[in-house]
Amino acid sequence: MLNRTRLLAVARKEALQLRRDPRSLILSFVLPVLLLVFFGYAITWDVTDIRTAVVDLDGTARARELVDAFHASGRFSIVARLERTADIGPLLDRGRIRIALVIPRGFAADLGTGRVAQLQAIVDGSDANTATIALGYTQAIAQQFSARILFQTRRVQLPVSAESRVWYNEELASRNMIVPGLVAVIMMIIAGMLTSLTIAREWERGTMEQLASTPVSRAEVVLGKLLPYLAIGLVDVALCSLLGVLLFGVPFRGNAFFLMGASFAFLTGALGLGMFISAVARTQLLATQIGMIATFLPAFLLSGFMFSIDNMPLPLRVLTYFVPARYFLVVTRGVFLKGVGPDVLWIQGLLMIAFAVAGLTLAVRAFHKEIS
């Protein structure tokens, strides 16, 4: 049975230990802010200022019009104008340019006579992601140009036109996708790196026997140890959300209480998992290593945080269903960007609660084995 005095005593002891360990505190409060600033400000997948070389072999007004269209898009910064296609190679080799656009001789003549004119794009494919997006922008500009030419030369309007709209993240900024996800990742760091040490530390220092000889029950130990980290985690969620919204303008369209509730459940599960690892591993070194592999990395890689689950091969897609961060991420993004609430996210909410129960049970049971 849980005794409140004993529970709080364990929590106080753990909090004291944490307070005396500046590095854990840095990890708890400085790292989240650091990550947020990195992702909010410096690190992005948005492709802008694509360094471009232009080889205009046609030299007509039409060709210049096309180059201007690239320039006007704001995505391409033209850093070189070359006379010969042979000059492209060295620039690509050295990484000076990302893409080269070649307008062949006869370009304007082809357009004028209704033949298919060609624009060649040579892209540095080594960074496939950036290359795909750069080619995408190129394609889009070529298409707009095509439609304009059709209209100008033949008075033909395309029978169908598409009106594209982007919802939830209207400016398509990777910042808006990453900041809500960071909340989940940071919690997994706390669970994987900090909690996984707590029980292993007692074993290594030999204080576990002392703890076992006190009247404290194992549920009290587990819950007591969990409380300070729970507090840290919730403060981090609030901190990240506030900074993300105020400093980086990430939209927050949902209900803050629902987010905190889901965070509470998710955090409880993650911390329980961390403690379970700690109890099983017994040494701090091994505990952190397992913690990294079992909690932090899946949250980072398999949750859809940055890499779309749709693109993964089937076995990995199946695996993602066992990564709780995956569901939590749906909640944070739903609340931040989509402004949806429990009516849409109730499945995820229930899964978070199930995760919390499972994490706590695992931690208490593993701890039991150790003492006996």
Partner: protein
């Protein structure tokens, strides 16, 4: 002062390696961590956009509208996850995250198409900005091709784009990501193993024993770094082999140059590990500090996020990051087959940083144990 004695160093290297390999769990870490990361980066970390889940609202119910959705499916970029004739269902599918793209073909679509002014709406879930950007370009292209065909233009727009990707013709993100894993793994292992090896001795009190032994500080430094350098180089070989043989990443460069880059890179990372050991008293502190160093080093290296998209201040900052230079070398050797003529600045940077960091670390290390 006499130089380092070979047999004493050799004994210490042997002892350190024994300690790592006797600890079966530690041993597993040394080998499992690279494999796990390789699998993740080979399979999970794909930024290619295919089979995007799409919800179709077709209020027109004509052949033209069905043709258009078929064109979307046939492209391979989209897969239909649901159909309805109420726009509300599309909103719900996007809200729930069941679909990322919504196609809305309004009533009268084919009638308007005959009069050359049909409009359709495509909605994208921008939550994943990357996927949405690529999906949008694909969708708009498909609509244009469809429109040209419908207009009797046989799918030929007046301007056609011929694109070609150098160095990675199929634009597989795997080819870019998998070789880079060696940089990340070597960073993680050399930081954690080196700092722990010293701190563990400090914790269990055997560092004093080492100090009273005839080992000189310099020998101690070598003895505490060389074994992990060997392990890391072993991992480099394993990762290169898996990348080339299993993931079929092309290798166009010189293998010895790759190993040389690895050695120069290790100077910096081992130096960092040693530095961490001088400021840590417990294993826990060492692991946490390593983690605090590893995170920003990886994020600001171009490992997953391109340096060229960072603000200029940060781009300059990354020049101080050994991982950035090492990754540039690795990727250029694998994909471009580049040699020293193109890569010498990176090699020089690694050499300068490595000797600087390791030298500084060794001095500090000697002070803390003296």
């Amino acid at each position: 002062m006499p130089g380092p004695r070979l047999e004493r160093v050799r004994e210490m290297v042997r002892k350190e390696l024994l300690q790592v390999f006797r600890d079966s769990r530690l041993k597993r870490m040394v080998f499992l961590a690279p494999i796990f990361q390789l699998l993740a980066f080979g399979y999970a970390v794909s930024t290619d956009v295919r089979r995007t889940s799409t919800f179709v609202v077709d209020q027109d119910h004509t052949r033209a509208s069905r043709d258009l959705t078929d064109t979307f499916v046939a492209s391979g970029y989209f897969r239909i996850v649901g159909r309805s004739d109420r726009p509300r269902d599309m909103v719900e599918a996007l809200d729930h995250g069941r679909a990322i793209v919504g196609l809305h073909l309004p009533r009268g679509f084919s009638r308007d198409a005959a009069r050359n002014n049909a409009r359709m709406q495509i909605v994208f879930d921008g939550t994943n900005s990357n996927t949405a950007t690529v999906a949008r370009v694909n969708a708009e292209r498909i609509v244009q091709i469809y429109a040209l065909r419908l207009g009797g233009l046989e799918g030929h727009p007046p301007l056609e784009l011929r694109d070609r990707a150098w160095f990675n013709p199929e634009l597989r993100s795997r080819d870019y990501n998998v070789p880079a894993v060696m940089g990340a793994i070597m960073l993680i292992l050399s930081l954690i193993l080196t700092s722990l090896a010293v701190v563990r001795e400090r914790e269990i009190g055997t560092l004093e024993q080492l100090m009273v032994s005839p080992l000189q500080p310099r020998e101690l430094v070598i003895g505490k770094t060389a074994p992990f350098a060997l392990i890391c180089l072993g991992d480099l070989l394993v990762i290169a082999a898996v990348a080339i043989l299993w993931f079929r990443v092309p290798f166009h460069g010189n293998f010895l140059l790759l190993v040389l880059a690895g050695v120069l890179y290790l100077l910096s990372t081992l130096g960092l590990g040693l530095l961490i050991s001088t400021v840590s008293n417990t294993q826990q502190e060492a692991v946490l500090t390593s983690f605090l160093v590893i995170m920003p080093t990886m994020l600001l290296s171009g490992f997953m996020f391109p340096v060229s998209s960072m603000p200029e201040v940060f781009q300059w900052l990354t020049l101080l990051n050994p991982l950035r230079h090492f990754l540039e070398i690795v990727r250029a050797i694998f994909l471009k087959g580049a040699g020293l003529d193109a890569l010498w600045p990176q090699y020089a940077a690694l050499l300068a940083m490595g000797t600087g960091v390791l030298g500084f670390a060794a001095t500090r290390f000697r002070k803390t144990i003296a």
